[in-house]
């Protein structure tokens, strides 16, 4: 099954290469990877979605912990808020224009660019919601699609 793992790392050159090299070398499967800064400028946070059985996930976490520049590894699969963002450039014809706007509204997506032939729609949410929205947009013709990896945060008082 899929697990969402948050990794706090020292903000140094080469850390991303170290992490991705580790996944490749040990045959772990990355489904998505998102990297960004945190509240501290010397620490970055990676959110990695990885698939595998319990034993594999345990090894993933332990091997990540062995990297010197990795400060903390947490499993955020359960009881967490998860978000992804996607930008979708979709074909627009005058007949379909209002229909697309309506669907976007239902999903609380935003139209961030408008041209004669296309929209760019921005949508955030969990993976299922974005997948559902993309599926709906396919009928109009998706010209381009870009998704960030998933980011995640534990609910309540728990912090990574």
């Amino acid at each position: 099954m899929k697990h969402t793992i948050a990794v706090l790392v020292e903000n140094k050159p080469g850390v991303l290469a170290r992490v991705s090299s580790l996944f490749r070398r040990r045959g772990f499967n990355i489904e998505s990877l998102a990297v960004g800064t945190t509240e501290r400028e010397d620490i970055s946070r990676m959110t990695i979605v990885v698939s595998g059985d319990e034993k594999t996930i345990e090894q993933v976490m332990k091997q990540l912990n062995k990297l010197i520049e990795v400060i903390k590894v947490s499993d955020l699969t359960y009881n967490s808020v998860e978000r992804e963002l996607a930008l979708i450039k979709v074909n627009v014809t005058p007949e379909k224009r209002s229909e697309i706007i309506e669907i976007a509204n239902i999903f609380r997506a935003r139209i961030v660019d408008v041209s004669r032939e296309s929209f760019i729609i921005e949508i955030t949410g969990d993976e299922d919601k974005i997948n559902a929205f993309i599926d709906l947009m396919r009928q109009y013709g998706i010209k381009e699609l870009s998704r960030t990896g998933k980011i995640s945060m534990a609910r309540g008082r728990r912090t990574v």
């Binding site: 790392v9 020292e10 080469g14 290469a17 170290r18 090299s21 580790l22 070398r25 034993k55 345990e58 090894q59 332990k62 091997q63 912990n65 062995k66 990297l67 010197i68 520049e69 990795v70 400060i71 903390k72």
Partner: protein, 555 residues
Amino acid sequence: MRAANAIVKALELEGVEHIFGIPGGAIIEVYDALFDSEITHILTRHEQAAVHAADGYARASGKTGVAFATSGPGATNTVTGITNAYMDSSPIVVMTGQVPTALIGNDAFQEADITGITMPITKHNYLVTDANKLLETIKEAFTIASTGRPGPVLVDLPKDVTIADIEFDYPEKIELPGYKPKVFGHPRQIKRASELIMESERPVILAGGGIRLSNAQKELLRLAESIPAFVVTTLMGKGAIPETHPLCLGFVGMHGSKYANYALHESDLVIAVGCRFSDRTTGRVSDFAPYAKIIHIDIDPAEIGKNVRVDVPIVGDAKLVLKELVNHVKYKQRKEWEDKVNGWRKAYPLRYIKEKDKIKPQFVIEKVYELCPDAIVTTEVGQNQMWAAQYFKVKHPRQFISSGGLGTMGFGFPAAMGAQTAFPEKTVVDIAGDGSILMNIQELATCVDYSIPVKICVLNNAYLGMVRQWQEMFYNERYSATRLRYEGLSFEKIARGFGAVGMTVEKPNEVEDALKEAFEIDAPVLIDFWVEKLENVYPMVPPGAALNEVIDKEV
């Protein structure tokens, strides 16, 4: 202070006395600084050998080994040596020259991305781009290499960084937020382990290389005697307790003795300390110790549960954990089990057929052991390694130095050079095959140059023997590319050509005299033993079989 001088001064403060390496354009500044230092530099003839020598030095002495190489090909030549150290958790620091920072990424002359290349084979590595971070980097490198589960650390030094002018302020301590090895075992887990031990009727201790790394021999022996429990070892753990001790059954696995493999297989409790359950040790992992509960003590949490199921995991330093664990166990005699194991030991000893006119390779090892039981023995890889492990009984783990994880042919000789450098007064013997010795034969020049009196025993069967053995047993004797033909080649002459002593021994009754003579000579000696060509290593657990499926030659 010039950064190159600061580097050398930092090494001095780290207690470095010997460095193995080869200079070059990118690291020339550091070598210039080394010229005025008390540190002895040993100029090897290949960078791979420099790293193996540093590795052998570390294994024999317990100190961190240091190797130098220049950028590009110098650096890439270190790769096998570094991987070897990584697989066997050997503490070494490798420093490589690099092209100036302004040229990095431009495919400059002798540029190679050695930090990229060595990322998966080092415990950690650094490309120093800011001279002001240089000293803290060196401190970190030595700390990381030698603590926790030890391993190789590489520091890549761009040339401009080595000529920068920096303040010499060597840090006493460093702060690594992501690196806190856990050394004390959890008290509750230790309690649980002791309960399992007290319940057990057939306990066996499986000791690995972690015993040597944590210097836990005394603690291990105390635990074994207090339970009491038989001790089997991995190849890396050989000597974890003295091999002549009645509780020691020697090493297990593919070429371990029958009785050691049977004992491990039949045990009801495996107390594994500082080992990683490699496939060569466990045999078919699904049938590993099928009746046993498993206690696994290791400093590396990632090793626990990686290869075998574990009932009681204890993360911590072997020495500290064993010291605590022994306080919780009481002596309990297990007569039936003792008799059973000793029965196996009697029924299935290590054995081979001696012949009057053919030198058996095992016989050479037995003679080396008989004449010099205190020698430090290094091995190459293959049949020579297994016979050495079977027939040379060591007293402590730093006495046997072998490439366990990576299985590097060409390791033994430079490793012997390293061990001899650490202990100039001891006899250091490299047990070699005729295939592997040629992989780093150039180091004879180094040994002669620096008067490093290593003794090389080549068990010459004119084959890549272990591969030939597999071909004989599993590939219908189709000896594809394993015959080594030597028309006109003489190891004796090669040795002499380098200025070392060379000997050839063709008859069993000459073996002892040749060895005696060699041990008397205070110079590097290579003895070419013409051994029985088709001798196989037995017993053998075939690849993919369980330990109790071990086969032996009919005698």
